[in-house]
């Protein structure tokens, strides 16, 4: 329900610059994901928005109102912590109602809100239990439920899935996506280091690196048009192939990037590169060929179906037209059109 604006926001701890000037606008009802490697400042940025940390310089606006000096509880936010932060001595119901008891809401109103949130997350039957009697996934839902009960303008998630196992993570991811769908006008900000979570959940992704915004855009934009080598390498799995030296110079750039699914195996003679298959990985639906074309790291080539090309085979490779990403020595994209080949 809130439009959030950050204007040249910085955060320093003593002499350490953690956030180095961030300008960002998060639209009302948007699902924004902050993603980046550990230490990039994404969690700090979330804590600045929540008010748990104070902003060193710059301005933060919620719906046009400057909230730099507004205490967390007055910002209309709810936060889901990585550790869930449930009170171990309180039942699920009390955990969810704890924040409200002071708010002066009537007992019936309180109970209705808790029951509604519990219903949304299908934890109605757990309301009398203690957190230690719940599984990890259930605890996570209680933590989310507690946030829903607060009826916030902004929902903040700090790596909420990182304590869950892989299967549960996929399932909970789905539930968070559904939650976003059901609460269309609540702005959600989600911090993760997992680019798959970012790609699957986000309306827009903000890639952070070393305390600065590297790129903001929809998942597709980031995937198709990364505006730096860093973003190109960070978004997508397997990682984008990078070629340097002669391989890149031939295309008039310092680094040449190509995604594994954009390389085709062609008959000999039509190839751009040639190399020996040094390793194969069979994922069932797809298979990855690791081809040594003499560029240092082997190129990863994604092929549909089961692996049919044995290790040791020499293959000819051709990138699909228009799918090459060219970057200059500073890691920025080269805008010039690719010269006719």
């Amino acid at each position: 329900m809130a439009n959030i604006q950050l204007r040249n926001v910085t955060k320093t701890y003593g002499a350490v610059n953690v956030i180095k000037g961030i300008d960002l606008e998060i639209k009302r009802g948007e699902f924004m994901v902050f993603v980046g490697p550990s230490g990039c400042g994404k969690s700090t940025l979330l804590r600045l928005i929540s008010g748990l940390e104070s902003i060193t310089t710059g301005d933060l606006y919620f719906d046009g109102e400057r909230v730099n000096n507004v205490i967390p509880s007055k910002r209309g936010i709810a936060m889901v912590f990585q550790s869930y932060a449930l009170y171990p001595h309180m039942t699920v119901y009390d955990n969810m109602a704890f924040g409200m008891k002071l708010g002066g809401s009537s007992k019936a109103d309180m109970e209705a809100r808790v029951r509604r949130a519990a219903g949304m997350l299908q934890i109605d039957h757990l309301l009398d239990r203690l957190p230690r009697q719940l599984s990890g996934g259930q605890r996570q839902r209680v933590a989310i439920g507690r946030a829903i009960v607060r009826d916030p303008r902004v929902f903040l998630f700090d790596e909420p899935l990182s304590n869950l196992d892989a299967a549960l993570r996929v399932q909970t991811r789905l539930e968070i996506a559904k939650l976003h769908h059901d609460m269309r006008d609540v702005t959600m900000i989600y911090v993760t280091h997992d680019q798959v979570e970012a790609m699957t959940l986000a309306d827009r992704i903000c890639v952070l690196r070393d305390g600065k915004v590297e790129q903001v855009g929809t998942p597709t934009e980031l995937y198709d048009r990364p505006n730096s080598v860093f973003v190109a390498g960070f978004i997508g799995s397997p990682k984008m192939n990078f070629l340097e030296g002669n391989f890149a110079e031939a295309h008039g750039c310092a680094t040449l990037g190509i995604r594994s699914e954009h390389i085709d195996i062609v008959p000999e003679g039509q190839e751009m590169w040639q190399g020996r298959v040094v390793h194969t990985e069979d994922l069932g639906s797809d298979n990855y060929l690791f081809v040594d074309v003499g560029s240092g790291e082997p190129l990863i080539v994604r092929q549909p179906g089961k692996a049919t090309i044995p290790e040791g085979t020499v293959v000819s490779l051709l990138p699909r037209p228009g799918m090459l990403h060219r970057f200059d020595a500073a890691g920025r994209p080269v805008q010039m059109p690719i010269a006719a080949q």
């Binding site: 509880s73 007055k74 936060m79 990585q82 550790s83 704890f98 924040g99 002071l102």
Partner: protein, 327 residues
């Protein structure tokens, strides 16, 4: 070979048991030196003193074995006088003993209560982040690190009625009109003892509680902060319940300690009937009067009273000494 083993589960199970018994044996040998040690320094003296309490042993015949078995006479016995009146004897009929019991329990209750509250306050301060916290944490331990004899003597001087700084300060401020003989007066002796014990032991309490406070995840507080819950409510509804296990263990340690208080009172108020405790009474009986029978009976009663308190406390508070339920 593998087929033989899998075809013969009996045997492989037998092997497992032998591996387990090997482990148990190894554990036993590692524990043996400590068990022997404990037997000599704890079990044997305890057993001996309980045995003495049923004899009329005196200081000069405890090694010659010239004492006689008197049953429960040291605890309670009676004799019907010629005029028909009954004369009670033994520790349980001794007014001095009951005075000491009352003193000890009063002291233990008050000192532990004060130390817990003050220790909690100190721990809360030390748990906050501020510059020089490490230094303050180290400094606060000083009273606890000073040997009791030294601090008792030191406070003895500070509380001295003629030269003591405490009287001087109170006189200057105008709280009192004339110096008070803190350690000698019956009505102030206990206050003096409590003052010194609280000063000395609060740091220990604070440290134990601080350890408990640091176990509480920061997320809990941040979550409460986002919910806008008043700090006092957070303290009573979140901090205190989560601190309870650590607090209970700290209190039990202190109660055990306080119930057998000896050195501080022995040095600070040696003659005062207002502060004499069970330990001191039993020491007098054993060392000064050489009455091993009655002294041992007092020691045994002290042991039983402490055991009773601990059992009661564990039962009432459901203290989790093993730490298994705290998860």
């Amino acid at each position: 070979m593998t087929t033989t083993i899998s075809a013969n589960p009996e045997r492989s199970r037998g092997r497992e048991t032998s591996l387990q018994s090997q482990r148990a044996r190894a554990a036993f040998w590692f524990l043996a030196p400590m068990l022997v040690m404990l037997f000599f320094v704890a079990a044997w003296p305890l057993f001996r003193s309980i045995m003495f309490s049923f004899t009329d042993a005196e200081a000069n015949d405890i090694f010659t074995g010239g004492s006689e078995w008197v049953g429960f006479d040291n605890y309670l016995s009676w004799r019907v006088r010629d005029d028909g009146s009954i004369r009670w004897r033994g520790v349980l009929a001794d007014a001095d003993w009951w005075n000491a019991v009352w003193n000890t329990i009063r002291f233990a209750f008050m000192s532990v209560a004060l130390e817990t509250v003050l220790g909690l306050l100190v721990a809360l301060v030390l748990n906050a982040e501020f510059k020089g916290r490490g230094l303050v944490r180290a400094a606060i331990l000083i009273p606890w690190a000073i040997p009791t004899i030294v601090s008792a003597r030191m406070w003895g001087w500070m509380l001295n009625d003629q030269f003591g700084i405490i009287n001087d300060m109170l006189l200057t401020v105008g709280f009192i009109d004339s110096p008070i003989a803190w350690t000698a007066r019956a009505d102030t002796a206990m206050i003096a003892v409590l003052m010194v014990d609280v000063w000395k032991t609060t740091p220990f309490m604070a440290l134990l509680i601080l350890a408990g406070l640091q176990m509480i995840p920061r997320d809990m507080y941040e979550s409460a902060k986002i919910d806008g819950i008043h700090p006092m409510k957070v303290f009573f509804r979140v901090t205190l319940p989560l601190l309870k296990p650590a607090l209970m263990v700290a209190v039990i340690f202190r109660v055990l300690d306080a119930l057998r208080i000896f050195d501080l009172i022995y040095v600070l108020t040696p003659q005062s009937e207002a502060t004499v405790t069970m330990s001191i009474l039993s020491y007098r009986e054993l060392q000064q009067f050489g009455d091993y029978g009655e002294g041992s009976a007092q020691s045994t009663l002290l042991f039983l009273i402490i055991a009773l308190f601990v059992l009661l406390y564990i039962w009432l508070g459901r203290v989790d000494l093993s730490g298994e339920r705290s998860k």
